[in-house]
Every structure is written in structure tokens, then in C-alpha cells.
Amino acid sequence: MPYEIHGLSVYIYVGLVMLGVIFSLIRLAIGPTAPDRVVATDILTTITTVVLVVLALFFDRQIYLDVALVYAVLAFTAVVAIARFLEGGL
């Protein structure tokens, strides 16, 4: 049975996550230094993984879980690579 996506709890959840994404995007835009922006990117990638898992529930497609797992692996690699680059020893 697919998940009923019209409910108060779903609205509250989507609202909270959306506010989180907006705040992280503000920090990504105004962040005074490069590490600030990398931290914002790190948070955004984790939120994206969560959103993919929740979308798998809402659309009732199991394949999105695999997408979320691969996205988590690639995002972790990307963030560590950017951090190594900032440190100066890529």
C-alpha cells in the first residue's frame, strides 16, 4: 500500500526540511570564507540524501534508495576532495 502523502505530518516535515535547505543556501551564498561554503555544501549533500530516501517513500519506488546510497558515497568523496584541495595537498 503506498504512503498517503496528504497529511499534516508530511506538510510539517516538508516545511521544516525546505526551511533547512533555504538557510543552508543563504550560508552558501553569503559565507565569508571558502570553508564556510564547504560546510554548507556538506550539510546540503546530507539533506539531499535524506530527501531522496523520503521521495522513495512518497513515490513508492525502491530504486531511489539505491540512488540515495550512491549519492551519499559520491558526496562524501567530493567533500573530502574539496577539503584536501583547500588544505593545499591534493
Binding site: T33, V39, I43, A56, L65, A68, L69, F76
Partner: protein
């Protein structure tokens, strides 16, 4: 039906922690304090949300736990990497900071 309610509670808790993490990202004064608030809160928020999805849809629970474990192991590592990169690339601590033993250690090594 019970699973649905418990899963919804986990989802809402996760949403609240994700919101708090980004609020901390916006409010704190320097990179290190931003990482303090954001990496921890977002890790627990993500784990709680994914566990909620796993409880609502028990057939996916194994894969959800795999994603949770992956986030739990990798998030501290990337936080550690960003923190050291920020220090090495010359971001100063906030002016209200009490002490900086790492800077003293690096100076000792250079002399």
C-alpha cells in the same frame, strides 16, 4: 497503522533536527562553531528521518539501516577534514575564543 504513526514521529524529529542544524549554520559566528552545530544535528536528523522511512515501509528496513550506518561513519570524517582544511587555510578563530592550543603547537613545530 501503528508503524505509520511511529514512523511519522521519527520523521518529524528528523525534520526538526535538520532545521536546527541549518539555523545553527546561519547564526553561529565562525566556521568552527558552525561545524559544531551543523554536523552533529544533521547527522542525527538524517538518521532519524531514514529510520522513520524504514519503519513505515518494513521491507526497506535493511537498506535504510545501511544508509544510516554509512552516514554515521562518513559524516564525522568529512567534518574532521573540513575543520583541518579551514585551520590550515588560515581561517582565524572567533574573537571571543578562549584558547588555541593547536596554533601554539604548529608554531612550536616551525621554530
Amino acid at each position: 497503522m501503528v508503524g505509520r504513526i511511529i514512523g511519522d514521529i521519527f520523521l518529524i524529529i528528523g525534520g526538526i533536527f535538520i532545521f536546527l542544524a541549518s539555523l545553527g549554520l546561519l547564526r553561529m559566528p565562525d566556521v568552527y562553531n558552525r561545524m559544531q552545530t551543523s554536523t552533529k544535528a544533521v547527522t542525527l536528523g538524517a538518521m532519524s528521518s531514514i529510520l522513520g522511512v524504514g519503519i513505515i515501509h518494513p521491507a526497506w528496513l535493511l537498506k535504510c539501516i545501511l544508509i544510516m550506518l554509512f552516514i554515521l561513519f562518513t559524516n564525522p570524517v568529512s567534518a574532521h577534514a573540513i575543520g583541518r582544511a579551514a585551520y590550515k587555510s588560515g581561517v582565524k578563530l572567533w574573537k571571543g575564543s578562549v584558547c588555541d592550543k593547536y596554533g601554539e603547537h604548529l608554531e612550536d613545530k616551525n621554530e
